[in-house]
Symmetry: C2
Subunit: 356 residues, 2 copies
């Protein structure tokens, strides 16, 4: 799949506006759009276009002869203003690995895992675009223990971006869930495992995640991405979650300092984006334009198919070798992390030292 | 303390704008403001004023001779657009009660409780103003079990509203934390205990809370509210959380269908608003204008000082008597819930039946 997403760019001295990526160029769609679409495109975020719904999206996709800028000559921005950010936990192998590490001896999956797509709300205000520096966060590492995290990690995820809103009190039926999705981005859910471990019982992750979440510059329409069938879910989900099992079929990789340490695929997601949306709204919660739904870390069954260092180094006990001869358990200052997805581009971040 | 908060109102046929409450009147501040402040006040949300910071707040507080509308003659709106919503868990008696019910036999407090103000992110998009109908939510109540919640509850809380933002990567020192707070609202963190119980391990509350959170119409400046000293915390908190112990001193009550079933006070909060803000930002997470920080349910030591039905009915085992002769464990359809706070006004919500 050629990369063909929407983003926000600015050419030298010009205000930020919507663009479409085509290879190594950015198309200035607003310059070629008729007036009804032009107002949606001369905006410093995708939100007006996203809110306008599928008919407007189709009209914008049909724009021809837009002037092109070289990608290298423009500045790229956060593509949309994030409303609520929810992070799911929808990869069977990731959840199983976490359970084996932190609850050894028992069933690695929580009792609810196969009944519902587990999720929680994250911090929308610290979602940043690819290329933003990630400063190693401070926090409580254990009882009375304070300092910079020693277990800084990545999580390789997809992000589903809500375009068309829904109304409070009206659950979104699963068969219409994807109508609300404007597109898909790559997402890195940076995690400080020591902070997370100490804070997380009983109310879940908080400061171990909230310092930063990076997303790609390009939001790619759902229809541009391949899908595949999945095996039936066991147990059969409740009616509001029932559909023909499917997943996106997107090859993904995790690169640390030039070494690809993991290759996985979005088809490893047990719960689909449609199931996540049906679940999120079943209690009447509304969707807003700009809501961002993280898929959860995507891990496959193999040793080198895991989407986090927590899993790749088995909680720090099995260091990974990089091509430069060094090893990693968790991230070191100066490390450059790149997530790549077929048709989705990349999301990049470099670790800067903790503040003094 | 007389009620003297800021909110958003519309008089018949006029656009919504900022007003100040004085007794049973709403003052149209924009009509009497000089141009620099007028633009902040002729807005359908408090956010521009909140973002302008303490000097602008002082200038607005000094406006005299503003025309008044009768409160009964205007429509009141959500006072501000919520950026991120965080809910804390800062009342010792509430956390202790929850621990006694759900982890009997062990230490009722989680090991981290006295070391940090536990919190998690909630859904900003479903924060609604006082008076909004609360439809009984559907959801998963247990393995394979779906239906309308049977354990619909309230949580009596304060909400701290962020005005002046902070920068990502720059923790807010505790001694300057309150400079970022525009004011305080009453907050009802509606909760569906059966949905919450089944979903909550391992990532925390999600759909059991996300259907609605109600806030009062009036955001009251911090300086208008009484404070009191508290006993020293044990153990002494880490340096970034250390201050002279204090709490707001605000009498609070929970009214169900005309019966005041609980009276408590904001001084029961073990962790202060300043400590919550210092903690929230210690990892470099930024504050945005419109961030809403819930205090957590406020419960005192007594049987009738508990801020939720979960505690008042001891997980449904001890029904409460109402003045009309009926009893309650959790909320029934048609119930009208009113939280009141001295100087803060009220937040009101009525339970409507679940959708068919």
């Amino acid at each position: 799949v050629a990369l063909a997403g929407y983003g926000v760019f600015s050419a030298a001295g010009e205000p930020a506006r919507v663009g479409a990526r085509r290879g190594e160029e950015v198309l200035d769609l607003g310059a070629a759009a008729p007036p009804p679409q032009r107002a949606l495109l001369e905006s410093p975020s995708l939100n007006p276009l996203m809110a306008a719904g599928p008919e407007a999206w189709a009209a914008v996709a049909a724009i021809e002869d837009a002037p092109a800028h070289a990608l290298a000559a423009v500045e790229l921005h956060l593509p949309f203003a994030v409303a609520d950010y929810v992070d799911f936990y929808s990869s069977l192998h990731h959840a199983t690995n976490a359970g084996r590490m932190f609850r050894p001896g028992g069933d690695p999956l929580p009792p609810n895992w196969r009944h519902l797509p587990i999720g929680y709300h994250g911090r929308a205000g610290t979602v940043v675009p690819s290329g933003s520096a990630i400063v190693r966060p401070h926090g409580q590492l254990g009882p009375g223990e304070y300092g910079a995290t020693r277990r800084l990690d990545v999580e390789l995820e997809l992000g589903f971006v809500i375009g068309a809103p829904s109304r409070r009190g009206e659950p979104v039926p699963i068969e219409r869930a994807l109508d609300h999705v404007f597109g898909v981005v790559l997402l890195n859910d940076w995690s400080a495992r020591d902070i997370q471990g100490w804070e997380t019982v009983p109310l879940g992750p908080f400061l171990g995640k909230s310092f930063a979440t990076s997303i790609g510059h390009w939001v790619v329409p759902v229809d541009a991405l391949d899908r595949t069938a999945r095996e039936p879910q066991d147990p059969t989900p409740l009616a509001y979650l029932r559909e023909e099992p499917w997943a996106f079929d997107i090859a993904l990789e995790l690169d640390i300092c030039g070494t690809v340490v993991a290759r996985t695929n979005a088809r490893e997601l047990y719960w689909s984006a449609a199931q996540q949306i049906a679940h999120l709204t079943v209690n009447g919660a509304s969707l807003r334009t700009g809501d961002l739904l993280g898929s959860g870390t995507i891990s496959g069954p193999g040793r080198h198919e895991r989407g986090s260092l927590l899993e790749l180094s088995w909680n720090g006990t099995e260091p990974l070798a990089l091509d430069d001869g060094s090893t990693r358990t968790f991230l070191e200052d100066g490390d450059e992390v790149v997530l790549r997805g077929d048709g989705l581009g990349e999301v990049r971040g470099r670790i800067e030292p903790a503040l003094a």
